[in-house]
């Protein structure tokens, strides 16, 4: 029996190797719930991994990759250089040292962007220019939809688009592209942005993201919205959700359903797994043996001492409520997280969100 226990993992490993060598597994695309931001992992049937954005939190995407058993990342792509897309990239670059790093070529003035570039340099990653090109992962093709590269336009309208193609299956992602970039693509990349099964909502489902013409051209069966639970920006916007509904697309939302995983076959068939809510299933990937455990979570935000800036890391806390907490704790320190109900606008539902997030603490 003991011998069986030892042999079984070896046999399973051998089976896995056979399956992957034949390319028989599905293409997996993980829309990782990183709060407000975008973070996508593309896993080819032959075991290659590409990261397209890594959210804002410095460690959440890195830890997700480790938990999913990812051992290597071939390319790390920053759709554009806003913090909610690249804040987690330095840790991904540092841990996985991908051979290639791609960004939109439009510099940002933030320290976050500088950290990404420094991490890419330390990792020895070669920079790929965001020209129209095909990145092949075996039978999976990633078609780069080139951004305009106009420095006077903001980062959103210089997003790198990506069309993922595996046999008859097609999925489109456009970073935070807004109507100006969508119009530019309609002129410069009209053949790429046509019928897809799935589409990642542009700009987190903002009213300034996807356009009626763009969605009509893509005609997606389903749209995945990557947004943070309780975000202050109103993402996804009801008008965007109506646009998807008007085009007959089902909507999956990371703010409601957690991480969303697509498993696609070359035939074009695909399944959708969600982390929470109706039809929730556990993610299929399991941690691989031999990987170090993910690092412990960063320390919590102590409500009685945290700065005005740090308090806003907690869900439902914007500048007004952060200032209110600072005023309230001067009068009387918070005794527990439940004391959040002293703050104007924090009721039972929002308190539940704050507790579930686990970021706030009282010391």
């Amino acid at each position: 029996m003991r011998r069986f226990r030892v042999l079984l993992p070896l046999l399973l490993s051998a089976c896995w190797a056979v399956v992957t060598a034949q390319g028989a597994g599905p293409l997996r695309i993980h829309f990782v719930d990183v709060g407000q931001g975008d973070a996508v992992l593309i896993q080819s049937p032959t075991g290659q991994n590409v990261v397209y954005d890594a959210g804002e939190n410095q460690t959440r995407m890195r830890d997700y990759l480790a938990g999913a058993g990812v051992r290597q990342v071939g390319v790390a792509i920053a759709s554009h250089n806003h913090a909610d897309h690249i804040g987690g990239l330095p840790e991904v670059l540092t841990r996985y040292r991908p051979a290639y790093y791609m960004d939109n070529g439009i510099a940002a003035s933030t320290l976050t962007h500088a950290r990404v570039l420094a991490a890419a340099a330390a990792a020895g990653s070669q920079v790929l220019e965001p020209t129209s090109r095909r990145l092949s992962l075996g039978e999976v093709a990633l078609h780069v939809v080139s951004p305009p590269g106009i420095a006077d336009w903001d980062q959103n309208d210089n997003s790198i688009g990506l069309l993922v193609e595996y046999g008859s299956f097609r999925l489109s992602m456009a970073g935070d592209a807004e109507p100006r970039e969508w119009a530019w693509w309609r002129t410069h990349a009209p053949k790429l942005l046509t019928d897809v099964q799935l589409h990642k909502a542009s700009h987190h489902g903002s009213i300034h993201g996807d356009t009626p013409a763009g969605i009509a051209a893509l005609s997606p069966e389903a749209v995945v919205v990557s947004a943070g639970h309780g975000n202050l920006y109103g993402h996804p916007d009801p008008a965007a959700l109506q646009l998807y509904a008007d085009n007959g697309a089902r909507v999956y939302r990371t703010d409601v359903q957690g991480t969303v995983i697509i498993e696609a076959e070359a035939s074009g068939a695909y399944t959708v797994r969600v982390e929470r809510g109706e039809g929730a299933q556990p993610p299929p990937a399991a941690p691989m043996p031999g990987l170090p455990p993910p690092p412990a979570q960063a320390s919590c935000v102590n409500v009685n001492t945290a700065s005005f800036v740090d308090l806003q890391q907690i869900i439902h806390l914007g500048p007004e409520r952060a200032q209110q907490i600072i005023d309230l704790r001067r009068l009387q320190p918070f005794r527990s997280v439940n004391d959040f109900v002293r703050v104007s606008g924090i009721g039972a539902a929002r308190l539940q969100d704050i507790i579930a997030e686990g970021k706030a603490c009282v010391r």
Binding site: V75, A108, T112, L135, L232, Q313
Partner: protein, 89 residues
């Protein structure tokens, strides 16, 4: 003097700022100068304007954005170049 960089505008109502430790937070759009644009570096200072009132003054650093952009471009130019055209991974 605290300095903040405008990471982005979110709709008409919010600005996301980055502090000098690369931490982000949001402020209402109307707290920033009307001429502020994405990437601008803001200098903030506060002063006592009345016996019980401290006022915060926020101004755009006219050269901060361009200096930071030049630094970022230099960093990117120092990265090793990858191949052009289609690529098999």
């Amino acid at each position: 003097m605290p300095r903040y960089t405008i990471d982005r505008f979110e709709g008409a109502d919010w600005i996301v700022l980055e502090d000098d430790q690369a931490r982000t937070f949001r402020i209402p759009r109307h707290w920033a100068p009307v001429e502020a644009r994405e990437g601008d570096v803001l200098d903030a200072s506060d002063e006592q304007t009345a016996p019980a009132v401290r006022s915060v003054r926020v101004a755009v650093d006219p050269t901060g954005r361009d200096q930071r952009l030049a630094d970022a471009k230099r960093l990117r130019e120092q990265l090793p170049r990858g191949p052009k055209g289609d690529l098999s991974l």
